[in-house]
Assembly symmetry: C2
C-alpha cells in the first residue's frame, strides 16, 4: 500500500510524467525495505489501474490510461470552476474535514448529524417490519415520488402552516440533490446565487460546479438584511438561497418581520428564492416563525425540507416544494439523472410521517438537543469563557464561537486536529472575519464534547 | 411548434406580461393558417408548461412566475442540446411511452421490467426483516458506498469472471446515475459517444443533455462491428458505449470473438469503453461470454451492473467498476450530487447478494423468462408470422420484430396505442430502417401478451 500510494502521488503531483520510467524493482524494494515480491504485487495493482506499464527493454514506465487522462482534464476544469467561487485553501480544508468526520478516534465537534445515541433504533426496526409486512411488489416510483410519501409530506407541511398539494412536491434524495437539480435544470451559467455570508453553501460546490457564482450578502442577528437585495437581479437570472431557520453555521433564526421584508424585497426585484428549511423541526425553545414559502403569493419560493437532520441522513429522503410546472420539470430531470429515489426508503419515510412516529421522535430529539445545548454552553463558559464569546442558538445543531482577536482560528484548527479534536473553522463558510469556528453539540457523546472543548481551551491558553 | 415558439418569445421578451390575455384561438388559427385543433394542441403544451392558463370568461392569459420564466430559458437550452442529437419527434414518442407505461389499462408490450408476478415478494420481506433485526443506527454511507455491499458486489463479479477489489467499485442509484456521473464528471462537451445503432441510449438524453453527441455505429448478429471504430478518436476525447450482452433493443449477444476484436480496436484507438452489462444475469439458453472488462488490461473499461433488471428497479442499486482513481473521482461527484444512495437500500441489496438469495432468485427468473420467451415466440408466429420476422433472443427481455416493408411501424404504433396496446417503435432507438419495433416478454401477464400480439396482428391485417 505504501508503495502504491508513493507512486500514485508522484504521478498525480505531475512529478512523474507520462512515459517516464519509475525506479527499478530492486530500488523500490530497498527504499521500502520489503521483498521484491511485495514490489511486484504493488506494481501489478498499478498496472491493473492503468497507471504504469512494463515496456520490454525500458522497465516500468508511467502510462496512465484513457479514463484517468480524460478524467484528469475534465476534473481539472471542474476544479477550476470550483476554485473560482471558493478559496482553494478552504476547499482542501473541507476535504480534510469530510475525511476526518469518519474517523471515530477523533472527538467530533464537527459533524452536523444527530448522535447515534439519538437514533430511534427500535422504532426504525418496527417501521421496517411494518413496511415489510405490507410490502407489495415494487418497481420504479412515479417521477415526483411515491404518492403515499407525497401525501404524508403534504400533511406534514400543512401542520407547519403550508398548504401544498402532493402534485407540487418532488421527493428528492436529500436537500443537496434538490440543489443539484436546480443548478443543472433551472439556473443559467453565470447566474449569481445570493446568499447569507457566512453560509454552509460555501463549503459545497454544487452551484459553482454548474457555473454559477456565489455572492455573499450581510446578515445580522435577525437574519439576512433585506437592503442588500436591492438591484441584485438586473439581468433577471439570479436567485436567493437562504436558510432562515437555525442558519448554518451561525445558528441565527430569521425573525418574522425580517421574513416579510425579504419576501417583499425579492418580489420587488423579481428575485426567486430557494428556502432551505432542513433545520425547522430542530427548534429548542419555541417553534420558528412560518416559512417564507407561506408568505409567497407568486410562486417565487422553492422550499426544501428533509429527514436527514431530524431522523437519519441514511434514508436519503428530502422534498422540494414549488410551482407545479417547475416541480414537473425538475421531476423530469431527476428521472433523467437517477430514475427516482429508493422505493424502500420512500415507503419507510412515508410510514414514519403518516404513523405519527415522526412527531413522537422529534419531540424527544428536541428534548435531547435542549439538554445538550445547555450543557455544552456550560462547558464553553468553563473552558473558553475568557477567550471567546457566542450567541445561544434557539435550535439546530450548532454554536458559532468567536475567538478573541489575539488568537487565530486557522492555527487552532490545526492544533486541535493534531490533538484529536475536529472543529469547523469559519473560513470554509466564507466568514468575513477569521475569528469564528463552528461546533456541533448534536453528535458526539457529552463526555467527549467536554473533553474536546477542554482541549481547545488548553490549546488557546498555551 | 411555430405557435409555441411565437408565444414563448412574446412572453420571454416581456411583451406579454403576466395576466395579459393572448390572442383568441380563432385569431391564432388565422395567423398561422392552421386548424383550430392545432392551436389547441399548442396551447395545451403551453399550459402544461405553466406559461398560460385558461380563465373562464377571460380566455387564455399569461400566468408564469419567475421560476417558470427562468426554467423556460434554461430548459430551452436543455431542449436544444437534446434535439441536436435526437429527432424531436422520437423524443416526444419516448415521453408518450413513458407516461403510458404507468397506465395499467394498456397491454404493456413496452415495459423493460420484470413482471410483478416474478417479484420475489416473500424473500424480499424476509430479507427486510433480517436487515431490520440486525439494524444499527445508520447515517451517511462512505462515498463509494456501503462496505458490505461493495464486498458482496466484488464476490458477485468474481463469480462472473471479474476480479475487482471493493475499492474499485462505486455504488450508484442505478446504471443511469452512473452514466449521468460520467457525463458530468469525465466527458468533455462536444465529445462523441460512439454506440451501437440502434441503441436504447438514443431514447435517453443523459449524454446529449451534458453536451455530448451520439454517433451510431453499425452492428450485426455478432454485435458491434469493430471496423467501424477506426480513427474514431482522433481528438482523444470520445468514448464507446456498448451493451454487449442482450443488447437493447435488438437482443443481440456479442460473441466472444467479437468482444476480443472490440477490446483490441479500442486499445488501438485509445478509445475508452463504457460497458453496460445490466442484462448479463438474464441469459436464457447459456451464460454469455465474459465481460469486455475481463479482457481489459489497461483500465480502459468502465463497467456497469445493476439489480434493476434482475431483482427490482425500486431498490435503485447499481454499480460502476473501473480504475480506482476514476472511481474515487466519480464517488466524489456522487457525494456532491446526492451524498450517496439510500443506506436501507444498500443494506437490503448487500443481504440479497451475500446470503445467496439472489442466486436462487435469478435461477427462477431465468426459468420464467425462458417460458415467456418461448410462448411469446409462438404467439408471434401465430399472429404475425405472415407479416414480420424476428431473431430469437438468447436472453434479456426483448424481441425485435421487423415488419414487412409494405407496412409502416409509425402508423402501427399509433393504431396499437389507440386500441390499448403499447409497443416501442424502433425510431426511438434510432433504427436506420423504419420497419422495426420492440416488444418485451418480461412484464405483462401471458394472456395479455397474447391479446396484445393478436390485436397487432389484426391491425396489420386490416
Amino acid at each position: 500500500m505504501q508503495i502504491i500510494i508513493y507512486i500514485k502521488s508522484k504521478i498525480s503531483n505531475g512529478e512523474w510524467t507520462i512515459g517516464s520510467p519509475i525506479p527499478s524493482q530492486r530500488m523500490l524494494a530497498k527504499m521500502f525495505n520489503v521483498n521484491r515480491s511485495t514490489v511486484i504485487t504493488a506494481l501489478d495493482e498499478l498496472m491493473a489501474d492503468g497507471l504504469v506499464t512494463g515496456i520490454p527493454g525500458k522497465g516500468t514506465v508511467v502510462t496512465n490510461n484513457t479514463w484517468t487522462l480524460m478524467g484528469k482534464e475534465a476534473m481539472a476544469n471542474w476544479g477550476d470552476s470550483v476554485s473560482k467561487g471558493i478559496h482553494e485553501a478552504s476547499m482542501s480544508t473541507v476535504q480534510k474535514i469530510n475525511d476526518a468526520e469518519s474517523d471515530s478516534g477523533l472527538i467530533q465537534l464537527s459533524k452536523g448529524e444527530l448522535s447515534p445515541n439519538i437514533f430511534p433504533l427500535e422504532q426504525m426496526k418496527l417501521i421496517m417490519r411494518e413496511v415489510s409486512e405490507q410490502l407489495e411488489p415494487f418497481g420504479y416510483e412515479e417521477p415526483k415520488g411515491n404518492p403515499s410519501l407525497r401525501e404524508a409530506v403534504s400533511n406534514y407541511l400543512e401542520n407547519r402552516g403550508m398548504k401544498v398539494s402532493p402534485s407540487s412536491i418532488l421527493i428528492v434524495s436529500g436537500a443537496l440533490q434538490a440543489l443539484h437539480l436546480i443548478s443543472i435544470g433551472l439556473l443559467q451559467k453565470g447566474a449569481d446565487v445570493m446568499l447569507e455570508q457566512p453560509s454552509y453553501l460555501y463549503s459545497l460546490s454544487v452551484f459553482q460546479s454548474a457555473g454559477m457564482n456565489l455572492c455573499g450578502l450581510p446578515m445580522d442577528r435577525e437574519g439576512l438584511k433585506p437592503e442588500a437585495l436591492k438591484q441584485m437581479n438586473e439581468h433577471g437570472k439570479n436567485v436567493l438561497y437562504t436558510i432562515p431557520s437555525f442558519h448554518n453555521p451561525t445558528g441565527v433564526l430569521m425573525t418574522n418581520n425580517r421574513r416579510m421584508q425579504i419576501i417583499k424585497a425579492c418580489e420587488h426585484e423579481r428575485l426567486p428564492i430557494i428556502e432551505d428549511d432542513v433545520y425547522r423541526d430542530l427548534w429548542i425553545d419555541t417553534p420558528p416563525p412560518l416559512p417564507l414559502k407561506t408568505m409567497d403569493r407568486h410562486g417565487n419560493v422553492l422550499y426544501l425540507g428533509s429527514l436527514s437532520k431530524s431522523l437519519s441522513p441514511g434514508l436519503r429522503i428530502g422534498w422540494l416544494v414549488g410551482p407545479e410546472a417547475v416541480i414537473a420539470r425538475l421531476a423530469d430531470l431527476k428521472m433523467q439523472s437517477d430514475y427516482g429515489s429508493s422505493s424502500l426508503s420512500q415507503q419507510v419515510a412515508a410510514k414514519w410521517l403518516s404513523s405519527g412516529a415522526y412527531d413522537t421522535h422529534i419531540e424527544s430529539v428536541r428534548k435531547e438537543l435542549r439538554e445538550r445545548r445547555n450543557i455544552v454552553l456550560k462547558y464553553l463558559e468553563k473552558h473558553l469563557g475568557q477567550f471567546a464569546d457566542w450567541d445561544i442558538p434557539a435550535g439546530g445543531f450548532f454554536i458559532r464561537v468567536r475567538l478573541r482577536p489575539e488568537f487565530r482560528v486557522g492555527k487552532l484548527f490545526q492544533k486541535a486536529y493534531a490533538s484529536g479534536v475536529l472543529l469547523n473553522p469559519g473560513s470554509i463558510y466564507a466568514e468575513r472575519d477569521g475569528q469564528y469556528f463552528r461546533i456541533s453539540f448534536a453528535y458526539d457523546a457529552l463526555n467527549r464534547l467536554e473533553e474536546g472543548i477542554q482541549r481547545i481551551g488548553m490549546l488557546v491558553r498555551s
